[in-house]
């Protein structure tokens, strides 16, 4: 069941939206460390294959990365000989439909939609789908991502080449 969006104050809604917009901009700007810092220390980035999957571990995933694995991916992309990323590439993310499903003082469940265009050499690919964020507040009161679930609309279709960066 799709939970209706909570009625929350304008300020909270804006805070959440700004986090998601920030994330999109950091990815497009290739600021990997700043992007990773949006995640809580236990943070996980997860892209399941099928919508029915409920756990980030124990079943096949497209991405299933804790912060150590994110660090490996970042280190690999920044290496001068990350061959697959040598050709020109850029991304452009849009995030919309931001709905806060549940919130208390410390945690929040948020769903949203995204669209990513990816330029690679002379071609553009499109990826669309939904985000589901579990957010927590850190000691300073800032929102951090505990779990980001990414359901690609086209996740079960054959991939025309692979994904190299978080969507």
């Amino acid at each position: 069941m799709l939970a209706p969006a909570l009625k929350v104050g304008h300020e909270l809604q804006q805070e959440v939206e700004q986090l998601l917009y920030r994330q999109a901009e950091l990815l497009d700007a290739k600021q990997w460390q700043a992007w990773m810092d949006l995640f809580d220390v236990q943070g996980v980035y997860w892209m399941p294959v099928q919508p029915e999957q409920t756990e980030w571990q124990g079943s096949p995933s497209i991405f299933a990365e804790d912060k150590l694995m994110m660090e490996i991916r970042m280190g690999r992309v920044k290496h001068p000989n990350a061959w697959s990323q040598a050709p020109m590439w850029e991304t452009n993310h849009l995030v919309s439909h931001v709905a806060i499903e549940a919130a208390d003082n410390q945690t929040m469940q948020v769903r949203s939609r995204f669209h990513m265009m990816e330029l690679r050499r002379d071609s553009v690919r499109h990826f669309g789908g939904s985000y589901r964020h579990s957010l927590v507040r850190d000691a300073s009161g800032a929102l951090r991502i505990r779990l980001q679930r990414v359901d690609l609309l086209n996740g079960q279709a054959p991939f025309d080449y692979v994904l190299q960066i978080w969507v």
Binding site: M47, V49, Q50, Q57, G58, S59, P60, S61, I62, F63, A64, L68, E71, I72, R73, M74, G75, R76, V77, H79, P80, N81, A82, W83, S84, A86, P87, A157, P158, F159, D160, Y161, V162, L163, Q164
Partner: protein, 509 residues
């Protein structure tokens, strides 16, 4: 198409670029290799219940793998015999007790035999009536399975499945023997990735030990850094960091990993990952195997030195990690790869999770490893389409491999014996003359009528029909002479290392 002579394209130490780029050669490969030899369809556990089906492409042919009421698995052409419409439109599902055409409601039993034709009297006096086998779905000429892995051949003749697989059977033995009950079960999620390159790039790459430390250095180094830090901080790091860091091993280390190259183009890359740690999960797993098989057998199963097994020309099986990649060529420069993995029945969950990490890290569509392979192959395809050169070199350690009993053992892990052996097999397939189109009649039959179509007489041979002909399961267990419909012509020797590594050929007579 058949008249094209490919013999000048493969030399002992090099091949002509057109074998990767030419549409006519690709079409010939479909006819002479994919649509004749045994092709992997899927695992039996993909279709557990009667009516469960899975659509699969063999060469250019859309097929359906379907579970029968009697528990057997058949492979049928996905085509209604009336007007040719495909009978299943989805990749997988359950069709109930029949296939029903969405166009005019012709229906077919799960074995392909016609069940009902609407307003059947409209066919009175024509050749299309229920008694005509042409009114039933056409079947793959042969279907057989090995330890649960289902293969089909669209050609009624040729070696049987066991003979085709030859030593590469170890892929499935090594996987299944790691289960205390000797069986695996598919995880019903398949990663599919389109490669923008000829299928040969993938097959060569799988046993190419010279490339990892170059191609995969960025990921290997990055993972090694984190792994080292974890070990310093905690004393150990989970095995999956090693899956990645090991790609950055030195040239010397890779050179020490031997390849074994079998007839038919199959091959093995020996183990290098150290997948037998002494952690409690591994020990529990090993104890289960010892209970099931006894100390000696279990040790034999666990100490096999295998990283990949290739079933040429389309399958790469990573048996110690229970995964498999299957190629479905689409065009000279386009290849679909299907990536599956399996659970060892009766083995601890931790063993599954360990192999799952490899599946996710190395084989997923976000892989940090194969991404760089795909990039190489794409650029390779473009390079070969150019006029910058005509030949592809396979000279590395040419003449320095050990050949015993038709099997080529590389003295150096980085020897290009692998490619030489694959092209030796390729030449044999491509130079075989077809005495007739594959599957001309054998796939169509009507057991209920008890009639049997006669095959055209073989040149120089008698009637080679046998009772099982056309019946997938009976036929498959019946041993026919290898390549019986091929008029054998000794291929040009792909000399040196690969000389005896080509497919075995039976002389026709």
């Amino acid at each position: 198409m058949h008249s094209m002579n490919t013999s000048a394209l493969v030399e002992p130490d090099r091949v002509h670029k057109t074998v990767y780029t030419d549409q006519q050669i690709f079409d010939m490969e479909m006819v002479k290799i994919w649509e004749r030899t045994w092709v992997y369809c899927g695992h039996e556990s993909q279709v557990p219940k009667p009516g469960d089906y899975y659509a699969v492409t063999i060469g250019r042919q859309p097929m359906i793998m379907v579970r029968q009421k009697d528990g057997s698995v058949r492979v049928l052409y996905n085509r209604c015999p009336h007007r040719g419409v495909q009978l299943v439109g989805n990749q997988k599902g359950n069709t109930g007790s029949a296939f029903v055409c969405s166009y005019h409601a012709w229906s077919f039993h799960l074995d392909g035999n016609v069940r009902a034709i609407p307003l059947a009297n409209g066919y009175e006096g024509t050749r299309m009536n229920r008694d005509n086998p042409d009114c039933s779905m056409k079947r793959a000429a042969r279907v057989d399975s090995y330890r649960g892995f289902v293969f089909a051949s669209l050609c009624a003749e040729g070696p049987d499945l066991k003979e085709f697989l030859g030593e590469a059977r170890i892929a499935f033995d090594d996987m299944c023997d790691r289960s205390p009950v000797g069986e695996v079960e598919v995880v019903p999620i398949c990663h599919r990735v389109m490669q923008h390159s000829n299928w040969k790039f993938f097959m060569e790459n799988q046993l190419d030990s010279l490339h990892p430390s170059v191609t995969h250095q960025s990921t290997g180094i990055s993972a090694g850094r984190v792994e080292k830090r974890l070990k310093a901080e905690q004393g150990s790091a989970p095995l999956y960091y090693h899956y990645l860091s090991t790609f950055a091993s030195s040239f010397e280390q890779w050179d020490a990993v031997q390849t074994i190259n079998f007839p038919h183009g199959h091959g093995i890359l020996k183990a290098y990952m150290g997948l037998r740690p002494r952690d409690p999960d591994t020990l529990e797993h090993e104890a289960l195997l010892k209970t099931a098989y006894g100390e000696e057998k279990a040790e034999e199963y666990l100490s096999r030195s295998i990283h990949h097994v290739l079933v040429y020309p389309y399958l790469s099986v990573q048996s110690p990690l229970q995964q498999l990649r299957c190629l479905r060529p689409v065009g000279p420069d386009k290849t679909l790869s299907e990536i599956w993995h399996f659970r060892l029945k009766g083995a601890p969950e931790a063993i599954y999770r360990r192999s799952l990490w490899y599946y996710n890290l190395v084989n997923s569509p976000a892989t940090m490893i194969n991404a760089d392979d795909l990039e190489n192959w794409t650029k390779g395809q473009w390079g070969l389409q150019s006029n910058g050169g005509d030949w592809v070199s396979f000279h590395r350690h040419f003449g320095d491999d050990r050949v015993e009993g038709g099997v080529t053992y590389s003295n150096h892990g980085t020897s290009e014996a692998v490619m030489r052996n694959q092209f030796s097999a390729w030449s044999t397939y491509m130079q075989a003359e077809l005495s007739r189109e594959p599957d001309h009649e054998q796939g169509r039959h009507h057991p209920e009528r008890g009639t049997r179509l006669r095959k055209p007489a073989r040149p120089g041979g008698g009637d080679r029909s046998h009772p099982g002909r056309g019946h997938p399961h009976r036929c498959a267990t019946h041993r026919t002479r290898p390549f019986a419909t091929y008029t054998t012509r000794r291929r040009r020797a792909c000399a040196g290392a690969g000389a005896q590594g080509g497919p075995r050929i039976a002389t026709g007579g």
